[in-house]
């Protein structure tokens, strides 16, 4: 189980780093790369998995969604999961220890204990990141829907 100090640190990271990065992540996909925002069904699935499962299961889900053979009309979903997988992998491989300093070196800790702690930390960090990107996704989706409606009205 994570310590109170680790949880406080995750809250700090969420407020100061992850929120901004998740917002930029979504805007880059939608506004720069021209992707459609993630559809509601995908948002619901991703959120429920992020909230309910262990990190290795969440990661497996992200990989599965990335590697699915999506029809051309849904290629943006694949792009989204490929980008998300990169963010999460970098977080797990490097940032969690080097930048976020969430894994102190504790002597005498077994490998399985360390792996379990890493899994718990990543689950919390991923959950925070996903919560923020889902919120931004909603705003972008609403904006896009309004733009489409305006265009339709103008055409009439």
């Amino acid at each position: 189980m994570l310590s109170n100090a680790q949880l406080q640190k995750i809250y700090l990271l969420s407020d100061t780093i992850l929120y901004r990065e998740a917002t930029v992540f979504m805007r880059k996909l939608v506004q720069e790369q021209g992707c459609d925002p993630l559809p509601t069904s995908q948002v619901a699935g991703l959120l429920s998995i992020a909230e309910a499962t262990r990190y290795d299961e969440l990661h497996r889900f992200v990989l599965h969604q990335r590697d699915r053979n999506w029809p051309p009309s849904k290629r943006d979903i694949k792009t989204f999961y490929a980008a998300l997988e990169e963010v999460l992998s970098l977080m797990q491989r490097k940032r969690l220890k080097d930048e976020f300093r969430l894994m102190p070196d504790i002597q005498g800790r077994s490998e399985s204990e360390a792996r379990q702690e890493l899994d718990e930390l990543m689950a919390r960090l991923a959950r925070e990141f996903i919560q923020h990107l889902v919120a931004e996704n909603g705003v972008l989706a609403a904006r896009k829907a309004e733009e489409r409606m305006k265009q339709r009205m103008n055409r009439r």
Partner: protein, 160 residues
């Protein structure tokens, strides 16, 4: 004065300073949400009071803005008559209150640094206190306006 008292004093001073802005947003909320969606304001206040993170409040505002068109409704009385209520509130909390936070944490006021985790956590806590004050003031104004039934632009008469 002990450090906690200093923080409370600074937050209260800022609450006086941003009162007019909170009133303007409360008026906007009354116009957009009307009495019919009172629970939206109650929920926002509850989340602001209980959140561990400022970003939980910002995410909530984003979610409601995405879900409900009335959160996206602009206020004709506002200078920027194209910005909806949710976007305007989020912008105020995210940018203007952050600037307020920077000012009161500066060396001439609370003198709280921004390098150690301890200092950053303290800033985070003060930021939440500022958001709570702002949301409380805004919700009071919203309640006042909807109770008068004057949730339309130009419908209210304020003295002073």
């Amino acid at each position: 004065m002990n450090p906690e008292m200093k923080i409370i004093r600074e937050v209260n001073i800022q609450a006086e300073n941003f009162y007019n802005e909170a009133v303007k947003l409360g008026d906007h909320a009354a116009y957009a949400l009307k009495a019919q969606h009172r629970s939206q304001m109650t929920n926002l206040e509850n989340i602001a009071e209980s959140a561990f993170k400022a970003t939980d409040i910002l995410d909530y505002i984003k979610k409601q803005t995405a879900r409900f068109s009335y959160w996206r409704q602009p206020f004709p009385e506002d200078k920027d008559a194209n910005t909806g209520f949710g976007e305007r509130l989020k912008h105020y909390l995210e940018h203007r209150l952050q600037t307020t936070l920077e000012n009161i944490c500066g060396p001439k006021r609370l003198d709280i640094g921004n390098t150690t985790d301890e200092d950053k956590q303290e800033r985070r806590r003060i930021y939440l206190l500022l958001i709570r004050q702002f949301v409380r003031q805004m919700v009071v104004e919203y309640e006042y306006q909807v109770s008068l039934g004057s949730a339309s632009p130009g419908g209210k008469k304020r003295e002073g």
